[in-house]
């Protein structure tokens, strides 16, 4: 049995993840070269520690009893909802957002990261049974409610970006639970038609000024790049996007070399250890590094989807598909931010961005993928 389980272990997934973690540590180290501070203050070192913890979690989760996971899902969901309320009360405020709970020397905990996994598990649990192969209205409404609660709490932090990630997950999981194809088609087409109007008359008036500015910047980054050179934009709300684009664009085919990026080393791109780590890769590793990174992520995502398709139970399929969607959304939105295609919102790049909660959550989810992978042929 141990021999077999080692042979069946998801080595491909583990390998891809290890490569991504390697790139992460390499480039995080590059952002803080020459700094004179304690080892634990370095992002790369903390990332290394968290990666080691992460791989242990990955391994443990991959061997866990999947039924047990389904059983504890409600408690896990309840706990994370409690933490989401707690963070609003005792959370640490950073940049106007209350997203973190300080937990002693370990650093901070970001409950919204765990809420994503808890919600996916709960959704899968609710949507798993398909009486007569149909999704009932009751299931549908409960699913919506399960998402609405964390979204509402996270919007209070406020962390719009994180709140948004729940919707594609919900949509995909409903879609895979047999939502009427015609309804989906009509819904998608209708949404595409209504979206511009809805944006103009419903969303836009409710946006805060900084959100409106960020959307403008993105619009210009795509359609009128010369407008980014405007002084108020260049030095104001467009600064981060423009500097990130300069970093990526100036990287060229093979990049400027690790620790040799002028933008990254000069500190021109804020948050380049977390949300904007992509700009460092773009600048220092070039197109080659970017395509390699994209390929690794795509592999992890498609692999998760493939394993989901092979899952023996709907619960496992739904969890993996939900996670696949979440990971894809994070990756596309985050890299889209870095290259100026998506307005800036606080969405990290899982595995690459520095951050313990995100890493821990990601490794747990990938552990679930490995778990299902190992069990796919077991009868």
């Amino acid at each position: 049995m141990p021999q077999r389980s080692l042979r069946d272990f998801d080595w491909w997934l583990a390998g891809a993840v290890a490569l991504i973690c390697g790139i992460s540590i390499l480039e995080l180290r590059s952002t803080q070269i020459g700094m004179n501070q304690g080892l634990y203050q370095f992002h790369w070192f903390r990332q290394l520690i968290w990666c080691i913890i992460g791989f242990i979690v990955f391994f443990l989760v991959s061997r866990a009893n999947f039924q047990r996971i389904s059983d504890i899902a409600p408690y896990f969901y309840g706990l994370t909802m409690f933490l989401l309320v707690l963070v609003l009360v005792i959370g640490v405020k950073i940049n106007g957002q209350r997203c973190w709970i300080r937990i002693g020397p370990l650093g901070t905990l970001q409950p919204s990261e765990f809420a994503k996994l808890a919600t996916i598990l709960m959704l899968a649990r609710v949507l798993q049974p398909l009486p007569r192969g149909n999704l009932t209205l009751r299931q549908f409404l409960i699913a919506c409610g399960l998402v609405a609660l964390p979204v509402a709490l996270i919007m209070r932090e406020p962390d719009t970006g994180t709140a948004l990630t729940f919707f594609p997950v919900l949509a995909v999981m409903l879609f895979l639970s047999g939502l009427n194809a015609r309804l989906v088609t009509v819904g998608v087409i209708g949404a595409l038609l209504v979206a511009p109007l809805a944006f103009k008359f419903v969303v836009e008036p409710r946006l805060k000024q900084y959100q409106r500015d960020r959307i403008n910047v993105t619009w210009n980054a795509i359609f009128n790049p010369e407008k980014l050179q405007d002084r108020t934009t260049r030095e104001g709300f467009g600064y981060q996007t423009l500097q990130s684009m300069i970093a990526v664009g100036s990287g060229g085919v093979f990049g400027k070399g690790v620790a040799k990026g002028t933008q990254s080393q000069g500190g021109f791109v804020p948050e380049n250890h977390s949300d904007f780590i992509g700009s460092v890769i773009g600048e220092e590793l070039g197109l080659a590094g970017c395509l390699l990174t994209l390929a690794l992520y795509l592999f992890v995502i498609l692999h998760s989807g493939q394993v989901a398709g092979q899952a023996r139970e709907r619960f496992g399929m739904l969890v993996l598909a939900g996670y696949m969607t979440l990971l894809a959304f994070h990756t596309v939105i985050n890299i889209g931010m870095v290259v100026g295609l998506v307005p800036i919102m606080g969405i990290p790049l899982p595995l690459l961005s520095a951050g313990g909660s995100s890493l821990l959550m990601t490794f747990t989810c990938l552990g679930l993928v490995a778990n299902v992978y190992q069990q796919r042929f077991v009868n």
Partner: protein
């Protein structure tokens, strides 16, 4: 509840695997977009981004070129630049303008309004701008503390222009201020000036600005995102400006200034070497302190100068015109001899005056029928009234211009005035202004006009410098040089020496004619003439030849001791010496000084005597003669700008 609402009506009508593939396809599509974007940015537009990345981290910091010093002919420093430190503000690196402005006003006392104005200037777009000059050591210490969080604060070594002699020779030296936006647009400045440069705005500072300024250098440095210095990648050193050695003799200049100060009246003294046009002295009172301008003159100080009715900013020697009074008789004499209407042996009746145009115009005495030398010595008006009629307007105009009256001398100072000499057009213009109802008859040039013009009234308005040049030329028997201050702009390793290009003008007359003229001027000082109180008795045999002038300011005859100073006559004296082979020529004008022999001739005498003392190797100023003079190294305290 109809479950069919949400799910396909046919059982097992959906295949989750196909639906999964659809989702995966969408994801692949999104990744493809990202891949294309990377390719577009990193390959197609790579060059543009590389350039932006370079611009991002590069700063060009100008290194000011040291401005050349200005020296007198003996090497005394008249103007130099001393290192001072300025607090500069680099707009590019300001993160939070409100915070920066608050720090500026709280820590350094810079008014917020001023700082904001500086930040809006065109200079601020490309370079750090000065917000506080001459900062203290304490300020510098503060900046180095604040500087890490606020890299927009920079300390720059700024050469500060200093004029150690204060008001002395201020009109010659001029002053510097920051170049104005309007000046920057002019092609003559645009070619070599940058916003924020200090340029000469008057005097030699302006005239030789380009030589003095040199060429600014720069450093190209790499900075981080907060504008903090990382390393230097290029340094182009500045080309220092050239030192300018002037023809001024500061010892004589001080004597002249002292003379004017003692008169407590406005006026000017100019001393020139007639052999080459080198200006040894040019004093004009009242003056101003150029240091105030160089330090960034306050609005109040500037208004004080600009609104003062004594016009301290004006260089009276070249920018003011006056009726020359009897000094004009020298011009008349040469013009008449040149026009062929006078020989030195002609006897012309004085007659105590002349009746012309229905009026009798008096002479000061009755000189019989003098010849030229006596007419000059005694300043006989009657002689010149008749000569004026004989000469006529056209001759006067032509030969007056030839001698340089109403013409630019070409002195190397900016904004020289041209002055006027009599002409029909000038008369008509004056009549139109003064008497709008004048008849065409009154618009003609009459003998009465010639009479008034002959003694330096009626539209005769040369500048003092023109009279000085002419006097020196007469002393040189028809050899006229261009008055100038540039002895040499010293060569540097980048630029060759520059000297003044003197334009010599000759007016040929028989030697006996010049002798007669000079004889008359000699007599005026040395033989019972109008300036006999100012005769110089020097064992070397130096004799001064001169001519006084007393020019009416108001048309009525006034007592020159009148309590109303502004109604008193202007006092003139022009002179050169020695009689043969002259070495020095001078002019003195004291506004409302009264009789020329009283207020002006002693001024020239004092300077000439100082010159003679210097020539013998003695101090220019006699020690112990006067308390103020005893400390000759120090500048004389300037007289307040407005005396009355």
């Amino acid at each position: 509840m109809s479950p069919n609402f949400l799910s396909p009506s046919s059982q097992q009508g959906f295949n989750p695997r196909i639906r999964l593939l659809i989702i995966q396809a969408l994801i692949v599509g999104a990744f493809a977009v990202l891949g294309l974007r990377f390719w577009n940015m990193q390959v197609v537009q790579n060059e543009s981004y590389v350039k932006q990345a370079e611009n991002n981290r590069e700063r060009r910091i100008p290194i000011p070129a040291p401005r050349g010093n200005i020296l007198d002919r003996n090497g005394k420093v008249l103007v130099d630049s001393r290192p001072t430190f300025s607090l500069m503000l680099n707009r590019e690196d300001i993160r939070n303008e409100a915070e920066t402005l608050r720090l500026l006003s709280e820590q350094f006392g810079v008014p917020t309004e001023f700082a904001r104005q500086q930040l809006k200037s065109s200079a601020a777009k490309t370079r750090p701008v000065e917000v506080k000059a001459n900062i203290t050591d304490e300020d510098r210490a503060k900046i180095s503390v604040i500087g890490f969080e606020h890299p927009e604060f920079l300390i720059e070594l700024q050469p500060q222009r200093k004029y150690p002699y204060g008001e002395i020779a201020c009109h010659v030296l001029g002053y510097v201020t920051e170049i104005s936006e309007a000046q920057l647009k002019k092609p003559e400045f645009a070619a070599y000036c940058n916003p924020g440069d200090k340029i000469g705005q008057a005097g030699l500072e302006k005239m030789y600005n380009k030589l003095l300024m040199g060429k600014e250098g720069y450093r190209r440095i790499i900075v981080d995102s907060r504008g903090r210095f990382v390393r230097e990648i290029e340094r182009v050193p500045p080309v220092p400006g050239q030192d300018i050695v002037t023809t001024l003799d500061m010892d004589l200049q001080m004597v002249a200034e002292e003379q004017l100060n003692n008169r407590k009246l406005d006026g000017t003294i100019g001393i020139m070497d007639p052999r080459n046009g080198e200006m040894l002295v040019l004093a004009s009172r009242p003056g101003y302190d150029p240091n105030l301008f160089a330090d960034g003159i306050s609005r109040q100080d500037y208004a004080k100068y600009a609104l003062d009715k004594h016009k301290p900013l004006r260089n009276r020697a070249i920018q003011d015109v006056y009726p020359p009074g009897s000094t004009w008789k020298l011009i008349m004499s040469v013009a008449a001899m040149k026009a062929g209407v006078l020989t030195p042996t002609d006897n012309i009746v004085c007659g105590g005056g002349i009746s012309v145009g229905g009026r009798h115009v008096r002479c000061m005495g009755n000189h019989g029928a003098p010849q030229l030398p006596l007419a000059i010595t005694k300043s006989c008006d009657g002689y010149y009234y008749r000569l004026g009629i004989k000469l006529g307007l056209d001759n006067l105009k032509h030969w007056g211009s030839e001698i340089g009256m109403g013409e630019y001398t070409g002195i190397d100072l900016p904004n020289e005035f041209k002055g006027y000499i009599p002409s029909l057009e000038l008369k008509i213009a004056t009549m139109r202004r003064m008497m709008p109802n004048a008849t065409p008859e009154q618009m003609k040039w009459t003998d009465a006009d010639s009479v008034y013009a002959s003694i330096g009234q009626a539209g005769v308005r040369p500048t003092p410098i023109q009279l000085l040049r002419a006097t020196a030329g007469f002393g040189m028997r028809g050899e006229f040089h261009t008055p100038h201050f540039l002895l040499e702009a010293r060569a540097t390793k980048d630029a060759p020496a520059v000297r003044f290009n003197d334009k010599l003008k000759r007016i040929e007359l028989p030697a006996s004619y010049w002798d007669a003229l000079i004889q008359g001027m000699w007599g005026a000082v040395n033989s019972g003439g109008t300036a006999s109180a100012s005769a110089i008795h020097d064992e070397s045999g130096f004799e001064m030849c001169g001519k006084t002038g007393t020019a009416q300011v108001v048309s009525k005859i006034v007592n020159n001791n009148s309590s109303n100073v502004e109604e008193r006559d202007h006092s003139w004296f022009v002179a050169f010496g020695p009689r043969e082979k002259p070495e020095i020529a001078g002019i003195s004008l004291v506004e409302h000084g009264g009789f020329g022999g009283k207020a002006s001739a002693p001024n020239i005498k004092a300077v000439f005597e100082a010159y003679l003392r210097k020539k013998k190797g003695l101090p220019a100023v006699l020690a112990g003669n006067d308390e103020k003079k005893s400390d000759s190294g120090k500048p004389v305290p300037p007289r307040p700008a407005s005396a009355n």
